[in-house]
Symmetry: C2
Subunit: 128 residues, 2 copies
DNA sequence: CAACTTACTTACCTTTTAGTAACAATCGTG
DNA sequence: CACGATTGTTACTAAAAGGTAAGTAAGTTG
């Protein structure tokens, strides 16, 4: 009768969907992973300039958390001025195809979604 | 020299990664899609009870936006008390395999990520 | 010796996201 | 005629996320 309510997969921190969302649902992580995948090694300032509208603060915290999780490697060259290069790790690279699957789906269907949204809004209006 | 700074794919609303993140980066959408994929047709209250820690408000706004985008269908039965059934549309179903790819990667590697995070934190501590 | 460069860090503030709790609509039942 | 059941809505609040702007280090250049 009851579809097991206790300890089911959908609740709490053990739910794999929530884990993934928790790690990659932020504004910049996936974007930076995909960028590094396409461009290879990049300096801090190159990432900043390519993305364009990321703040210095968010770029550092995002890169730091990607490094902390072993998705990105950071190489520091103690020159003056300093140089830092970021690159995907093997773990990071292993994620890329799955991201691209998802964005591929996005490219294929996002226009439909926007149109659906428009139609839904139109229907909602005519009921008032 | 300059890797085209103007109108590049990484900036603005045309970037497919940002579009996907914008639509699915919220706390509940993907979870609900996957739940409907596994359980088929579900009532409002069944979704609420299975997830357990979603608020009534967030369940309605998330379902409403999924419906608006054509990812979920809503069938209303004007009984007393009312009954509403939610189900994935074809468009919604077409997204499921890509979500599962990603959560599959999560299940395979999240333990490593957590361990990396622990090690990184340990290193950070010993430097102070 | 002030200015410049790069890669940060920090304090502060704004915006966005989500939660809480109360209320609405509906009609059959006790 | 109050009550319960179900699917919402609304106003208010709390928390999280992210942006802004200023500061830091450290050697090189004019």
């Amino acid at each position: 009768m009851s579809k097991k309510r206790l300890g089911n997969v959908w609740m709490g921190e053990t739910c794999p969907i929530r884990q993934v969302l928790d790690r990659f649902g932020d504004k910049w992580s996936i974007l930076i992973i995909e960028l590094l995948s396409q461009e290879g090694k990049l300096r801090f300032s190159e990432i900043a300039q390519t993305i364009g509208d990321i703040s210095q603060k968010m770029l550092t915290v995002t890169l730091r958390s990607l490094e902390s999780d072993g998705l990105v490697t950071r190489r520091f060259y103690p020159e003056i001025p300093p140089r830092v290069e970021y690159e995907l790790s093997d773990l990071g690279r292993s994620l890329v195809p799955h991201i691209e699957q998802l964005t591929g789906w996005g490219q294929a269907h996002m226009a439909t979604i926007m149109e659906n949204r428009r139609l839904f809004e139109a229907k909602r209006m005519e009921k008032n």
